[in-house]
Symmetry: C2
Subunit: 391 residues, 2 copies
């Protein structure tokens, strides 16, 4: 293996939930700000004012897509920072007001939520309830309602799950949160490129996005913050982002975020239809060709290009390495925990025994995938699983 991955001609990338290649149109949108338009957006001179104009134009573009006001958009360094700022920011702002904050999350959230909630519990006197999910990874809004206490200040439920693709019922949860005046956050990192991000329809007060899941660069995200939401800043310094997130703005990536989101959302209907058809083909063929394979997550209510399975009798990491050698890039689940010996916390929460969860396979499709890729992937998966089972 070299530092140079095989070209797309010989290697098939089916790990778009881990990350995506940057769209060439997005690279074009970014390049001017890496070179001649290099100003610091806080500077008064024309270099600075040009950077500021780009920053604010990008903010308006994102706000428009989210049906939000520009001053409700906070640019961050990525989805993880957005999740951290949402939870830590609200919990510590509320704690500062004298309450003992109670948070409600689900056990299938990304680690950026899980580990932040755990730190708030361990270090900052917060209480956290983890509301269980059903075997498809769906949250029951009634369970959320039952978990609410007089101290509940925040409910955080992801829009779509990274490992199994299940889409959660945000609008219904929102009604419960609003009736109790509880702040509602969603981690929409996986949903960003594929689902409707209208914060009014969703009824969310905070929403996390990361560009690299929708063909933007890695290292830039957004936290939507509804006006009036209490938030103790976690990165203090200059008054950037209305003092909610200090630090010189990364103008190339912010312009890239806006361009990538605009492209993904404007092409969403056509992309989703294509990905859905390919995914159905892929799921059907894997279930047919690989004896014992089961689809994980919701069979219908899931991200369009997202296929996830458990395959008995194989170890996920060995399968991924076998696929890689045969020219297919896939994953077991979250890239953020790849190589970890622990079975997936998501599959555990869905009720899969550790033995079965160890055979997880996630194949997530993207814009550039074709029917030929799917056909080839099915052959390779069947072959690799067969070899591993015979070992």
């Amino acid at each position: 293996m070299t530092n140079n991955p095989a070209s797309p001609m010989t290697h098939i990338y089916l790990d778009h939930s881990a990350t995506t290649p940057v769209d060439p149109r997005v690279v074009d949108a970014m390049l001017p700000y890496l070179t001649e338009q290099f100003g610091n957006a806080s500077s008064l001179h024309r270099y600075g004012q040009a950077a500021l104009a780009t920053l604010e134009q990008s903010r308006r573009t994102v706000a428009g897509i989210l049906n939000a006001r520009p001053n409700e958009i906070v640019f961050t360094s990525g989805g993880s920072e957005s999740d951290n700022l949402a939870l830590r920011g609200v919990a510590l702002a509320t704690r500062a007001q004298g309450a003992q904050p109670h948070l409600i999350i689900t056990p299938i959230e990304h680690h950026a939520i899980l580990n932040t909630a755990a730190q708030l519990e361990r270090e900052f006197g917060c209480a956290v309830t983890r509301v269980p999910v059903n075997r498809h990874g769906g949250v029951n809004p009634d369970d959320i309602a039952r978990a609410i206490t007089p101290h509940t200040i925040l409910i955080s439920v992801m829009y779509a799950n990274n490992e199994v693709g299940t889409i959660e019922p945000l609008s219904e949860i929102s009604k419960i949160a609003r009736a109790r005046k509880i702040i509602f956050h969603t981690d929409a990192v996986q949903a960003g490129g594929y689902l409707d991000l209208d914060v009014e329809k969703l009824g969310v007060d905070l929403m996390s996005l990361g560009a690299h899941k929708f063909h933007g660069p890695k290292g830039v995200g957004v936290l939507y913050v509804r006006g009036g939401t209490p938030l103790l800043p976690m990165q203090t310094g200059g008054s950037h982002e209305r003092s909610r997130r200090a630090g010189t703005e990364n103008i190339p990536y912010i312009a890239g975020f806006a361009a990538a989101l605009q492209i993904a959302q404007s092409e969403r209907a056509a992309t989703n239809a294509r990905l859905l058809a390919l995914r159905e083909e892929l799921v059907e063929a894997i279930l047919e060709r690989v004896v014992g394979a089961q689809l994980t997550g919701d069979p219908k209510n899931r991200l369009p290009g997202h296929a996830s399975f458990v395959i008995p009798g194989v170890i996920g990491d060995e399968m991924i390495l076998g696929l890689d050698l045969a020219g297919i890039a896939g994953s077991t689940g979250s890239a953020c925990t790849a190589g970890s010996a622990e079975p997936s916390h998501v599959l555990a929460a869905l009720g899969y025994p550790a033995e079965l969860a160890r055979g997880a396979l996630r194949l997530t499709l993207g814009r550039d995938n074709t029917e030929a890729h799917i056909a080839r992937a099915v052959e390779v998966v069947a072959d690799v699983v067969g070899k591993l089972r015979r070992k």
Copy 2:
């Protein structure tokens, strides 16, 4: 004014302490990772492993320059995040151990330090002492020693000041900190491109750097963390950066950070000699041509390309706008507080009355500046000051 700044041919950029253009060699080092080598460094397949190899090579490059171990290098989203992680991370880790932490800083630190210390004081029960500086902006190590209490857990003193360029006596402060087993952090954001970053010679336990001050991109930084230093992570999630900073790694910018630091540090001697000569020319000419102008900061012990003044009878922001119209990009001081009505906290700490501090001018030179730029800048400054004084 348009969204397109004038070309360098007609505009002279003298605001390198605010930010720098990305070196074309650095852009070249970054581009492959924005396009074909787009993997998530946590993925097991070859796209991921290629990204991981670049990440770890970049880490080794930076560690080599800092005379540190690779696992002591934490990549962040910039200098502000590094400063925040250093202060908040150490203070809250120590607080978690039951102590009431006491921090020592100076009043001329960047706002990423000042406002983080203030938040720790206000929200998290920490105590903060701000040790005064002399009229040149220098800290007296004896004053640091006298400020130490049994609860002191962290001393944070910047390597070089952003507004007046003064270099602080880190090694002497380090001796005091080490004798008392107190953790020593330095904000080296302004120093990164110009001064020796050997953490052993400096005797620091934590050091913040940001790439965009030395011709790298905006949005990537480093926190050097000496092995064994307690640090509560402030961005939790995946186990990236050995669980000290969660979030999918920004490989293009991390490669860019390493390339920019290597270039800046390897060319440092020659660059500094050139900048020093130009700066001396500039300072001499401004003091001669602008009646009443005074150099701020240390006349000798300062960053090589850094010139800063107070000019009686003018308002800084008006001067900057006048210079900009005449083709010179300068600043009053920190870009992070440009446009703020408050006079500089740095000049106040040096003893300048508000009236005089309002006439601050900072001209900071970079690699591409020439003698002709200096000559032209002097003419323009003299002219703009003259006009403003006659208004």
